[in-house]
């Protein structure tokens, strides 16, 4: 199949249309209260959100889960109970029983509720997907209006993997009835720190 590469490239070269210019992409900026737009979008996509003024409020929540016996992983060093070492290299079957994961979000997008989470923040690529409940913590100043601005803020290949997460996993494949909680988390909670 080494020939296929050359055959394909030659056929494309012979068949491709005349040059067309690559357009510049405007920012399509919009002003307004981005945090509130973001909160509205999160609600629309089935996530819950809490505005807090300091990380200690997130700490309190985390501690309440710990006291209730929740199996959780916290990848955010600024919070209490940072415990990645036990799970860093864990595989899927070891993580299957994980209840909750706390992860830092880099950039939030007001218009659609999506939050960029990069591999170095999630530590283990499985965490945001295998847990039942995902908790993302994002700074209010990292909320932008739309995807154009978001892509200017992030470097998609800075880590080997990164993803925009918009809400809990969901499906509507049975008669178009929306079911929250497909293969990934059943719940997404977002802390917005101002």
């Amino acid at each position: 199949m080494s020939n296929s590469r050359e055959n394909i490239l030659a056929a494309i070269n012979a068949n491709k249309p005349a040059p067309v210019e690559l357009p510049e992409i405007p920012l399509f900026e919009r002003k307004g209260d981005l945090v509130n737009v973001f909160i509205g979008a999160l609600e629309f996509i089935g996530a819950t959100s809490v505005k807090v003024t300091s990380l200690s409020e997130v700490d309190e929540y985390l501690e309440s889960l710990q006291q209730a016996g929740t199996r959780l992983v916290n990848t955010i060093a600024e919070l209490n109970g940072y415990n990645i070492n036990a799970y860093k290299k864990a595989n899927a079957s070891e993580l299957e029983a994980l209840d909750t994961a706390f992860i830092k979000g880099r950039v939030g997008v007001a218009e659609n509720g999506a939050i960029w989470v990069s591999e170095s923040d999630m530590v283990n690529r499985l965490f945001p997907f295998i847990c039942r409940k995902l908790v993302l913590v994002i700074n209010a100043k990292d909320i932008v209006y739309n995807m154009h601005e978001a892509y200017r803020r992030i470097q998609v290949d800075e880590d080997g993997y990164g993803t925009f997460i918009a809400g809990p996993s969901k499906t509507a494949d049975i008669e178009q009835s929306l079911v929250v909680g497909a293969h990934g988390p059943l719940e997404l909670k977002v802390f917005i720190v101002s």
């Binding site: 199949m1 296929s4 590469r5 394909i8 490239l9 056929a11 494309i12 068949n15 491709k16 249309p17 040059p19 067309v20 210019e21 690559l22 357009p23 992409i25 399509f28 629309f44 996509i45 899927a92 079957s93 299957e96 218009e111 659609n112 509720g113 999506a114 690529r125 499985l126 997907f129 295998i130 739309n146 995807m147 154009h148 892509y151 200017r152 998609v156 290949d157 880590d159 080997g160 993997y161 990164g162 993803t163 925009f164 997460i165 918009a166 809990p168 996993s169 969901k170 499906t171 509507a172 494949d173 049975i174 008669e175 178009q176 079911v179 909680g181 497909a182 293969h183 990934g184 988390p185």
Partner: protein, 459 residues
């Protein structure tokens, strides 16, 4: 297969036999279309985004070989193994050899229309490799041994009682429990085990970025990510037209894709894979399978701009009322009817005729493909090549059968919407043969007003 060219017509007639179900299908997809409209109208720059999406794709097609080379070089730098397949058989063989090399016998796969196009599951099953489709809709149809009927909503032809029966039979769920939450949780449990115990993961690709050498996969369920991250081997299969030049181009396409597909502002996950995780191997298979030929057909090359959102399916009166299986091609609907004849003109000659040419598809397409004009052009090509005669006749029957069945016409709010939804073939446009007297379907022989009055009583 005595008259392959009449297939769509016959399959559509069979689909319509179950009138209630056909009506449900029609209404449900129209509802998805309405959600798309709402989502699009919330973006003031929607038309500008469509233009940008279209231009970026046209630019990419005009430099396709260079972008593929750039992508290959960058992907290799990222530690990804890149393969090239000229046709479906080569694609399947490449995937098989990778799996064989890793002694993989259990594979989890997330949605990939390309592997459907190539018949990968069947090919691997013959070689004792089991592939589980993990998208819920695809899993349902796989258990039933059916192909997906829609590229975004694979099980849209089924009702919850069908899913309940299928799950009862295969997953031993409670008989007659039709609760979608219960059924989804049951599948979640079974598939979680599959993700964890598989040997390799296969995914499709929504976008491949030339400048960074990585791929983007969009799902709502999280199945692509769970499969890939839980496994040591990731094989991503893509038609080479998925390439885009820059990472920032994603900002345009991700704003357009989910809004056009389901009316969501974005899919739950838009995952960017650039390097395999430690201890993992990542492969990308770039597939041609007739795409270079389509690129050479001036009238049809724009079909390669498609981002597979399925908006053209949901809005199409023929698709809604004939079901995806009647298109006998991995990609159904209006865009499938343009792609299919390129693969096999004789077998798929009927498909460009399975349309009213009302142009609704073209109006909703996020990358501005002139879908209905291309369908018209295919008809001219097929007639000239001698494939079109029986297909054309069949299509006339289709129109009277699929679109003129009075029982399903219901009074909608306002006449304009009524026309758009049910009688687009009465809309005048230069390509629409139904508008011309000689081609009018026989059902509305009586004056439209009488016919309408009469059928309104069917409510």
């Amino acid at each position: 297969m005595s008259q392959p060219a009449t297939h769509h017509n016959k399959a559509a007639a069979a689909f319509l036999k179950n009138g209630q179900r056909a009506q449900w299908h029609d209404e449900t997809l129209w509802f998805v279309r309405a959600k798309r409209d709402k989502a699009a109208h919330q973006i003031p720059e929607w038309e500008a985004l469509r233009n940008l999406g279209s231009q970026i794709k046209e630019h990419t097609l005009s430099n396709l070989d260079e972008y593929l080379l750039q992508f290959e070089a960058n992907a290799k730098k990222n530690g990804i193994k890149v393969h090239w397949a000229n046709n479906a058989a080569e694609h399947n063989q490449i995937v098989y050899e990778i799996l064989l090399h890793h002694n993989a016998v259990n594979v989890v796969k997330s949605k990939s229309m390309l592997t459907e196009e190539c018949g990968l599951n069947h090919y691997l099953a013959e070689r004792k490799i089991s592939v589980v489709d993990t998208d819920l809709g695809e899993y349902i149809v796989q258990l039933r041994n059916e192909p997906p009927s829609h590229i975004v909503l694979p099980a849209i032809h089924l009702k919850k009682e069908d899913v309940s029966n299928t799950f009862h039979k295969h997953l031993h769920t409670e008989k007659n429990n039709q609760d979608p939450v219960y059924l989804t949780r049951a599948a979640r449990q079974v598939l979680r085990k599959k993700f964890i115990t598989a040997d390799a993961a296969i995914t499709g690709v929504n976008f491949a970025v030339a400048e960074t050498g990585g791929i983007v996969v969009c799902t709502n369920e999280g199945n692509a990510d769970l499969g890939v991250h839980a496994n040591k081997v990731h094989i991503a299969c893509m038609g080479f037209e998925k390439i885009i030049p820059r990472a920032q181009d994603l900002s345009v396409f991700l704003r357009l894709l989910a809004r056009s597909a389901t009316g969501q502002p974005i899919t739950t996950y838009s995952s960017h894979f650039h390097r395999p995780k430690a201890g993992q191997e990542m492969h990308i298979v770039l597939v041609n399978n007739g795409r270079t030929e389509q690129l050479g057909r001036e009238a049809f090359r724009n079909s390669l701009k498609c981002i597979r959102c399925a908006a053209c399916f949901n809005t199409c009166p023929v698709y809604r009322r004939s079901g995806g299986h009647s298109y006998h091609n991995s990609v159904a609907g209006p865009i499938g009817s343009i792609l299919a004849p390129n693969l096999d003109m004789r077998k798929n000659a009927d498909l460009p005729f399975a349309s009213t040419l009302c142009g609704s598809c073209t109006n909703v397409c996020p990358v501005k493909i002139n879908i209905h004009e291309q369908l018209w052009s295919w008809r001219q090509v097929l007639m000239a090549e001698g494939y079109g005669g029986s297909a054309k006749k069949a299509s006339m029957k289709l129109m009277t059968g699929v679109l003129s069945k009075p029982a399903v016409y219901r009074l909608s709010t306002g006449m304009a919407r009524f026309f758009m939804r049910y009688l687009p073939f009465l809309v005048n446009n230069r390509l629409n043969p139904w508008y011309k007297q000689r081609d009018m379907p026989s059902a509305p022989k009586e004056s439209f007003k009488d016919w309408y009055k009469k059928n309104r009583n069917h409510e």
